[in-house]
Symmetry: C2
Subunit: 140 residues, 2 copies
């Protein structure tokens, strides 16, 4: 928490939600062929109204398209964002598992963490997954 690092706060938080949504939409489409608002209602445990609001924002921002009473689809940008998010999520989760964290905790924590890891950190995690822990094995 050094100086000036918080210009992001607001915009960041918004895009976190966007990422969570597109990720969930992509997942629903993968699982069910389509994504209905109802799927998101379940996923995020919010009301229909809230999903509607959020989806509208996503549409405004060019991540999804949907018409009244039609399923929700991802734009190219939305798909890109979703797959990036998913990948990040998976790396973080697998890393936590490798760290020895329980499956359940890894699932929960990775959700929170995925939005805050930089490319550099992500690469470091991925390298661990591929090549094992970094050099100096302190113990013994």
């Amino acid at each position: 928490m050094r100086k000036k690092t918080h210009e992001r706060t607001r915009r960041d938080h918004a895009s976190e939600v966007a990422e969570d949504y597109v990720e969930a939409i992509a997942e629903a489409i993968a699982n069910n062929g389509v994504c209905r608002a109802v799927d998101l209602v379940e996923q995020f445990a919010v009301t229909h109204a809230t999903v509607n609001n959020t989806v509208k924002r996503l549409q405004r921002d060019g991540l999804v398209v949907t018409a009244p009473y039609r399923p929700i689809e991802l734009t190219t940008a939305g798909k890109r964002l979703a797959s990036r998010s998913k990948q990040r999520h998976e790396i973080v989760e697998a890393f936590l598992r490798k760290l020895g964290v329980s499956e359940q905790t890894a699932a929960i924590d990775s959700e929170g963490i995925e939005h805050h890891v930089s490319k550099e950190t992500l690469d470091a995690m991925q390298s661990v997954l591929q090549n094992g822990w970094p050099s100096p094995k302190k113990s013994r």
Copy 2:
């Protein structure tokens, strides 16, 4: 991002900000003896007005006390929260460094991550710091 994990979203975000603030307040007090609103303005790169708002909320929530034109002080609860946050922050940051992440990135990422690591994950990180990486050293 499995089901029902997002009841938290809203309340969480608020308490993240609270944690950042009490941490910064504790730091300012440690460094300068007192914490003035101005210190927080700098730290978070927001306006006076925003700091005022936030500090009021913190006061409402029993984390700080302050009177008009007086410095900001932490309540017992505020101090507790600050030290817990600081500790968490330090563990995450040190862990990232040990992972091989640059100082700069570790500083930035740990800010974001610290609010999302569970006790279990934190313990795992701390264990790495103390005892080295977990057992199966894959490589070679």
